[in-house]
Symmetry: C2
């Protein structure tokens, strides 16, 4: 039995899509047990509605869920997370993390505010022995639909090279278990391909990554290539990856705005574009938007914690649950431990 603690109230469409995702996961997988943290009345009402038409589903899930009531949850955009943690531990996210910490649950899934989840996980669950930071590792899709892991996409703006090496080890095993890649290729995001390029941080990280026997390190990757990189795992600090993502976002938005203007400049052009091109343009725009797939993993923690995207639909949330389950089942944390290197704090 795998027990997951789920923050029912996190995310833009919670608790509705969370419950939908949970029901789908439970009906497909009898080895799961779910603790749901949130507004009991609302949750029960949704479950009732969802199972009214299908009594079989209700039977399948009714002994697989425990609802733990709390009226408190974290709003998107929450600041002062430390103060929240000090003043009110009854927020649905905190309760879910606490359940994992006291080993009532094997892992946690939440679509709540990212920075809150990272900080609260760090403080409640704590890091693995020898690791001092937590990285956020979302999965993205390449232009050829190959999936890759980008990290750190979280809040570590100032990292040490040793932190990055440990994240690379965690991500390599994550790629093996979740993406089924036997020998995941790791590359370092940098401003040039030579090992002498970049800041002191990149130069030292290159050296450490190169000499690590567990990691299949294939050197630097420049930011213009991230949509068709050979890498399964792209490494950088949280500042740089954020700069890259926001630059891509900006360039794509502006380009598509400009092209739309050209293609719809007058009535004739509008009609022709709609008939001939609009469908495919929509498709490529969506693809280039390069959104995260499923849940992002919080690497470095003592327990499995998956961050589902804030605007997840129920299928994405279901996928995040599946990710958590696989990683627990595959003994992810045990597998990592023996490969970690010592960090200079």
């Amino acid at each position: 039995m795998i027990k997951l603690a789920i923050d029912a109230m996190g995310g833009d469409f919670a608790p509705y899509i969370v419950i939908e995702g949970v029901i789908k996961a439970l009906t497909e997988d009898s080895s799961l047990y779910i603790y749901l943290y949130g507004d009991k009345y609302l949750i029960e009402e949704i479950i009732q509605k969802k199972t009214k038409i299908n009594n079989k589903i209700l039977k399948k899930i009714q002994n697989k869920i425990t609802i733990v009531h709390t009226p408190f949850f974290l709003e998107a955009g929450i600041k002062h997370i430390r103060e929240e943690l000090r003043d009110n531990q009854q927020h649905s996210m905190f309760l879910a993390l606490r359940a994992a910490q006291i080993e009532e649950a094997d892992g946690v899934v939440s679509a709540g505010p990212t920075q809150a989840l990272i900080l609260a996980s760090f403080l409640i669950i704590k890091t693995l022995k020898g690791i001092s930071r937590i990285a956020l590792a979302p999965i993205f899709s390449n232009l050829d639909n190959k999936q890759k892991i980008l990290l750190d996409a979280g809040g570590n703006t100032d990292l040490k090279p040793e932190h990055l090496v440990n994240f690379a080890i965690c991500a390599s095993i994550m790629a093996q278990e979740l993406l089924k890649i036997k020998k995941p290729i790791v590359k370092l995001l940098n401003i040039g391909s030579e090992k002498t390029k970049g800041r002191t941080f990149e130069k030292n990280a290159f050296h450490l990554l190169e000499k690590n026997n567990f990691i299949l390190f294939k050197g630097n990757e420049e930011p213009q290539n991230i949509l068709n990189t050979e890498a399964d795992i792209l490494l950088s600090d949280g500042f740089t990856s954020n700069i890259v993502l926001k630059s891509y976002e900006g360039a794509l938005t502006i380009t598509f705005q400009a092209i739309k203007k050209i293609l719809t400049k007058n009535y004739l052009k509008k009609i022709i574009s709609k008939i001939l091109f609009s469908k495919e343009l929509q498709k490529i725009k969506k693809k280039l938007d390069n959104k995260e797939i499923g849940g992002a993993m919080l690497l470095g923690l003592n327990k499995i914690v998956i961050k589902a995207h804030g605007n997840s639909n129920s299928y994405a949330f279901y996928n995040a649950i599946k990710q958590a389950k696989i990683l627990i089942q595959q003994n992810f944390l045990k597998k990592i431990e023996k490969h970690l290197i010592t960090e200079n704090k």
Copy 2:
């Protein structure tokens, strides 16, 4: 009389476009005097060809040029610049810099390899008193054709906040003199708009920029907004600005490739696109490419040094000469000195 030392052999189309630019500058401006460093025979041949049809031009320029012969010049992509400097000081770029150092010339223009020009300037010409680094400050064009300065676009991957403040002071005066902006707006490239965002570097730089009375600092700018920012000067370290430029480059290349594929998928679409859209698409692509305008300035040096783009045409090179002239005429270096802050090395 303003005397400029010009590296005749630097850039993809040297010495041809360099000579063309020099001739244009000299015919328009009688206050200029040019030292040309490079292959005397080649240079004289080009001057002869260019002035054969128009004797007036020859008369105007013949007493305004001294050609200093050297068979040596730096190829694009040169490495081991320190070794070159030690072993052969006769490269055209080094001779031009030396002329400024011994005050034979008031400034230098070169389209030669960027990193070589930065390092050789640093070693030959030296920095202004109190400044320990050199920044490369190119001028870019916004979507609305407003010009802005981006720095550091050079090799300073690890900067201190104080360096950035001094660069911001230099760039503010550069914007006043070259872009004719009375109160240039300065913003800091960062991953969020709040002052608490970014690395320790950005947080400390924000604080110093905010309290500096000379700089009109308006906070952080996120990378998705750089093509329509209100800022006249965008600050970052050389690593981050390189990451941003390469991300934009990558996103634009991939998007236009994808769109071209859609618009030319079959013969009919190809014809229609060509008739209705291709001209405007070309135009917007060129605009979004957001290429540098004129020359980039090397900030922090004891003399005016302008880096013309490696693939400059003669008009761009002429513009770089004009930039150098204006900055010398306006006493740029004297104006900077009194505003600089003390740097922690």
